[in-house]
């Protein structure tokens, strides 16, 4: 849990989180595959999730929430709710 969340006594929400490629190594130890249930502090945004997982917080990811694109300017603003499906996908190989 985010240290500040613990201090302020806020509760957390559970989300379904999916990622891919090299970002999979940032998932909690023991995760099978590329999808995991995450507990995040109430009020957390996609950007907070990236920080929680120690992902590089670059702008070069594709972020979607419940099937909707979250554009760069919204990634630190959109608040996650219980059972949300968040996907943060790194760049892929073209060819």
């Amino acid at each position: 849990m985010h240290p500040q969340a613990r201090l302020s006594g806020r509760v957390s929400v559970k989300i379904q989180f999916k990622t891919g490629g090299s970002l999979v190594e940032h998932l909690p130890p023991g995760t099978q595959g590329n999808t995991v249930e995450l507990e995040v502090p109430e009020g957390a945004t996609p950007m907070d999730v990236m920080r929680q997982l120690c992902m590089p917080t670059g702008e070069n990811y594709l972020v979607s929430l419940n099937g909707e694109v979250v554009v760069i300017s919204e990634r630190g603003k959109r608040v996650l709710a219980e059972n949300d499906h968040l996907a943060i996908m790194p760049p892929i190989q073209g060819g």
């Binding site: 090299s22 070069n60 594709l62 099937g67 909707e68 892929i92 073209g94």
Partner: protein, 414 residues
């Protein structure tokens, strides 16, 4: 019927031509935002080596090709879609109304979040405009750093080496081609490149890029610093989906489509790099940002937009690559299938490697290095899902018998 296609790459252009044939009385409009006639990014390496000029990259010959087909190609960029009113908003201020829409907006090159990646002399190599800037900077003898040794990186690597630059390749992963080769193959390709005078750093990260003495300086996490006149960034691509942000079109890794290439919204289809469609090997939906998939998506989406009901059987993840004369290829589930079996044959001295992956008695994935004659056979065995029967134990002992197995199994099926 009004068809609108967003994107003028291979998926969009093949869709436009297919629509013209399948729905002759319709109007077909293609919106593309690059200042060139529709072209193929796959031709860019040949442009860099000087084997072809600009015109050689164009998907179709003749200035009036699209006019003759009554396909309207517009230079503009989609900024939004109103799926209720069936209207595409354009950056130029106008809009296009549609009955059926194809999203074939492709992908864009992305740079890692490193300080200095916006400096002059740091280039992508994704569009024709990028390629012209790379060509201008990659003069013989120039010091060039290539960031990223994935598929695109390795294609660009070959072109840069042929231009006679002093080349260093930096790959973050532990091996070259981390998403298309295992450690055995990746190591062979690395040694091959080194033997051709290319410096290859794997498991290496650039911490920062800065301007120095009229050129660039790259500080690596290892403590080493490199000087370069040109930095070429080939660290991956990401689908162009931002303009769909306020629509009901479902997005995950790309635009989610069903086996008819239709999105979650009726009459809105997607094809190519932007589409997350059925994968041949797993049945799951994946983005395969490769040209064969783009072509097949474009054709099938168009047939369905024209009122047909053609199923897409799924795209096979596949790459064939020539790195300074060493041909490598990867197919399907090359990293192995659950409960499957693996056969390997490697000859490091002669730069040859073959890895086959089986599930029950079918071939489901493969890697090949230095074995060009096996490419068609392997692809055929995977795509036709041929049962190998008695051949499987033999292939587990000697995977190089794959050619004999193919000939025997296909003869029996015929």
């Amino acid at each position: 019927m009004k068809h609108v296609i967003i994107g003028a790459g291979p998926a969009g252009i093949i869709a436009a031509e297919t629509l013209r044939r399948a729905d002759p009385r319709s109007t077909v409009t293609v919106v593309g935002d690059e200042p060139e006639p529709p072209y193929s990014r796959m031709a860019i390496p040949y442009l860099l080596t000087g084997s072809i000029g600009d015109a050689g990259t164009h998907l179709r010959r003749g200035a009036d090709h699209f006019a003759k087909l009554a396909v309207d190609i517009r230079r503009d960029r989609a900024t939004g879609v109103d799926v209720g009113d069936r209207r595409v908003a354009l950056a130029g201020g106008g809009h296009l109304d549609y009955d059926r829409l194809l999203i074939a907006s492709g992908s864009h090159a992305v740079r890692p979040p490193i300080a200095g990646m916006d400096l002059q002399g740091v280039e992508n190599c994704w569009t024709l405009a990028d390629a012209r800037r790379v060509a201008a900077g990659a003069r013989a003898g120039a010091r060039v750093v290539l960031m990223g040794a994935g598929f695109i990186g390795c294609i660009v690597l070959e072109a840069l080496a042929k231009r006679g630059v002093e080349l260093t390749v930096i790959e973050m992963g532990e091996r070259m081609l981390p998403r298309m080769m295992d450690d055995v193959g990746g190591e062979m390709i690395k040694r091959w490149c080194e033997s051709k005078g290319v410096r290859v750093l794997t498991g290496a990260r650039v911490g920062a890029v800065s301007a120095a003495d009229g050129g660039l300086e790259l500080a690596l996490d290892s403590g080493e610093s490199l000087r370069a006149e040109l930095v070429v960034c080939a660290t991956g691509v990401s689908p162009n989906v931002d303009f769909l942000a306020d629509t009901a079109v479902r997005i995950e890794d790309g635009v989610l489509v069903d086996e008819y290439l239709c999105s979650s919204v009726a009459d809105v289809y997607a094809a190519g790099d932007v589409a997350q469609g059925p994968d041949f090997s797993t049945g799951e939906r994946r983005v395969h940002a490769i040209q064969p998939t783009a072509s097949e998506h474009g054709r099938i989406a168009a047939l369905n937009m024209a009122g047909g009901r053609t199923r897409f059987r799924g795209s096979l993840s596949m790459n064939v690559l020539n790195t300074l004369g060493l041909v490598s290829s990867s197919f399907g589930l090359w990293m192995g299938a659950e409960g499957g079996e693996t056969a390997r044959a490697a000859d490091a001295e002669r730069f040859r490697y073959l890895r086959l992956e089986f599930q029950a008695d079918r071939l489901v994935g493969a890697l090949a290095l230095g074995l060009t004659q096996h490419v068609g056979v392997i692809r055929g065995l995977i795509q036709t899902r041929v049962r190998l029967g008695q051949w499987k134990p033999q292939l587990l002992r000697d995977p190089l018998l794959v050619m004999d197995a193919y000939l025997d199994c296909t003869r029996r099926r015929a």
